[in-house]
Symmetry: C2
Subunit: 491 residues, 2 copies
């Protein structure tokens, strides 16, 4: 049966991707610097092999024959997702794939030392190479898909999403978000917020993090927690590798970072085991992925009921101090304060960081802007959206993110899409199961069960629109996100 | 040029092996247990791919054409080593390669918990599967190479070595070693030896280990130190991954273990960069590899002059105690006391552990013995060679080693060959550079320089016999090993 041959073929691909995921994790967490050149080459060869696996001559015939076979509905969707992966991979020549992987790996590695050194000039030539190759990739994809160049990249992370839809969504946000930020800042102006006093030793922060991950249902038999400069959730669904970074003066950031990544991790660990080695068994999209991390970080962990559960854990690990009082934690974790760093941004100003990146990457890819103009454009938009200048401070400006270093253009909108999806999911959950406050206090498993049933185990068995509609009873709608923010920050 | 095509082809293979080496290291050091099934499958797929790379249809033509091309002498040797790798890989069908890798990975993983549980019965069926597949592999190799089954496996680890030669060498050892052990025990009977009193916290032991590795020239820009149940030296030459295990009651074992693995590591780090991605740039053989670890551990680190340098380091990390006096350290580290565990064995009784394993694995592979007879045969030989019984104590008997769990039959003789090579190298070094004592006190770099020049940078550019003769001026000869033992333990 051709479908069976396809399954075997895509499982092999999955095994190769497994090796790449673990070696990529190692590169970011364990590898000594001198190992990077060899690692970059090895991962480059692997990328070519994965690409070649998807370019196998037999695939078109197998697809055609499998289309005639008697398949279950799920096998039919599985076949569709295999085709999509195949189509995606065959848009780019092997040389371009390898060159992008090598250039990305080099740029990302250099970025690790260039960012702390605020060295834009050192970064620029490496980044220009990455951008140049990404534009070539976008052009090739656009031709095949009949999309604009930027949309053709977006399609990789959020299939079905278009720049026009993002313009509409972000246009809407622009209408009310700046006002909201101002109102919240007015409201919070005279609030007393105590900042927890450190130091908070790394070992204790890690112990607390492990405890919170356990409370959130992370399965340590199928995953672990380590340290990297830029936190991520990697590995494979059977062995999920979370990372975080610790600041001994600040316990609040690493803790929320761990909770965020645990949301990603539970999605991965909750994917259906029966499908986990095939495209249909993977996470639906980056936006849906981010909806899970943001559900954990924003809907769940910044909820006053959850912070009330965190307070005694903080006290157990670091001793009692007034800043650990639940009310203060709630004020601290909902403090709105426009700042430079996206990953440190509060829930309300975060979308502004994304709108900025979206506009820039769209223009970079469409050729309406050059790499060398990046620091100036960044500074201009930061001043416009958040009233802050990054002039001469690229470390905290356009050098702050890892995404563009390896050419992941089109990814950033996923963050705000995720926030919108998550708010929609939370609203639906409350309609179906009752107030979140009660669930957090007494029945966390019910929350995870809902996500397991409606999101995790669905993997890629539906498209994003279908998944969202089936789970929440409504199509994509930013209204629940807006009322969530208004209720949490203005009520 | 066909030689150029071969170089590209074998470099690709090296990149795949890089990914396997890192993921294998991760499996032993970092991976949570639930990740093993997926890892075993991924590594199984990789093994098939590596095998396929060596079975490429174009290789025979490339080899033929390259043989006609104008090559430098070194390129000629490189071609010869490529051919050897190719010949080795084409002796076994792909199914058998994959089955061995899967069975080995499963057996090794299970062994990690079965050994501490002393569970021979649980281990047996997994081990029978590994043995069965290893016998099939030996038979296929023997047919092609025109060797006996056991010799055909030995050829993988120590090319050119034969069972007949080992019978002669080990037969010789049997003539004088038991007597020597007895004489040394008599001599040491009334010696006062103080055992250092713990606890020795793991973090401090690691700090000491890192310091000693630095003194021994380990390059931390191209390697790191971690923990695994069974210490090994893995990774790739650009990124060497050492492991050890710590016992908080005993600082002496982990320290020597680290020094041993550092010997392996410096060989890897010292391989010629120009050749490091081709077969000719790899370590010559497992026996030569072991000669470097044993040079570090036995010739160097147990030398009284080296222990005199270790003493102040021990005191700095763990405080002063009488057991850290150089004279006592020398008595402690040359104490001869036949015991159960090979890796804990002293330098003099160690070869007896190898003779035992050699006899058993030879008979297992030649079909003169079955897996189920292993515990009894082990017990019988232990009683015969070392006067100890392992009846009912398989944890400290036939379950103690990792080697057979993944089918590495034919490896064990490398340890004693390594000891013999190392003694020959040390004797030659003393003839050329003067007494080791003086070099250790004042010029460690001269020692490493000699090894770099005569062993490390030679990689596989000569065969083992040629390498040994060029370095020491003499063919394989156990005499220097015997005089080393007599001088250190009876003088
Ligand atoms: Zn995230
Ligand atoms: Zn060794």
């Amino acid at each position: 049966m051709s479908y069976t041959s396809l399954v075997e073929h895509f499982e092999q691909l999955h095994h190769l991707q497994h090796l790449g995921a673990i070696c990529g994790w190692d590169q970011a967490t364990m590898m000594p610097p001198g190992g990077n050149e060899a690692r970059a080459e090895a991962l480059g060869t692997l990328a070519v092999l994965c690409h070649r696996q998807l370019q196998d001559d037999r695939l078109p015939d197998w697809f055609a024959a499998a289309g005639e076979e008697a398949l279950t509905p799920e096998q039919g969707v599985s076949l569709h997702e295999m085709r999509r992966a195949w189509r995606d991979a065959n848009m780019l020549p092997a040389d371009l794939v390898r060159a992008r992987s090598l250039a990305g790996s080099r740029c990302e590695h250099a970025w690790r030392s260039l960012r702390p050194a605020n060295d834009w000039a050192g970064f620029l030539p490496l980044f220009e190479e990455v951008l140049n190759l990404s534009r070539q990739a976008a052009a090739a994809r656009a031709d095949t898909l009949g999309l604009s160049r930027y949309d053709s990249l977006l399609e990789q992370y959020e299939p079905g999403m278009r720049g026009a839809e993002l313009d509409r969504l972000f246009g809407g946000l622009r209408g009310w978000l700046p006002d909201l930020i101002r109102q919240v800042q007015d409201k919070q102006r005279h609030e007393q917020v105590l900042v927890p006093e450190g130091p908070f030793p790394t070992a204790q922060q890690k112990a607390l993090g492990l405890e919170v991950m356990t409370m959130l249902g992370f399965d340590f038999n199928h995953g672990r927690l380590d340290v990297s400069v830029h936190p991520f959730c990697g590995g494979v669904s059977e062995d999920v590798r979370l990372t975080t970074r610790y600041d001994e003066q600040d316990v609040t950031q690493a803790l929320m970072g761990i909770i965020h990544e645990t949301g990603h991790a539970r999605y991965e660990q909750g994917l259906p085991a029966a499908w986990c080695r095939l495209p249909v068994g993977q996470a639906r999209s980056m936006g849906v992925h981010e909806s899970q991390s943001l559900f954990f970080e924003m809907q769940l962990a910044r909820h006053p009921a959850f912070l009330a559960r965190l307070a005694p854990l903080l006290e157990r690990h670091f001793g009692t101090q007034p800043a650990f009082a639940p009310d203060n934690l709630a004020r601290l974790y909902t403090r709105v304060e426009p700042g430079f760093i996206r990953v440190d941004a509060d829930e309300v100003s975060y979308p502004a960081h994304i709108m900025l990146r979206y506009e820039i990457e769209r223009d970079l890819i469409e050729g309406r802007m050059e790499a060398r103009e990046l620091p100036e454009r960044w500074d201009q938009l930061m001043r416009q959206y958040l009233g802050l200048s990054t002039q001469g401070n690229d470390r905290d400006g356009c050098l702050q993110d890892i995404h563009w270093t390896d050419g992941s253009f089109g990814y950033f909108p996923s963050y705000t899409l995720g926030a919108i999806y998550a708010a929609q999911q939370a609203a639906a959950m409350e309609r179906q199961l009752g107030p979140l406050a009660r669930l957090i206090e007494a029945d966390l498993p019910a929350i995870f069960g809902w996500l397991q049933q409606h999101i995790w185990q669905e993997a890629s068995l539906q498209d994003t629109a279908g998944l969202l509609t089936a789970a929440t009873g409504q199509a994509l709608d930013p209204a629940p996100f807006r009322s969530h923010l208004e209720q949490r920050y203005l009520a």
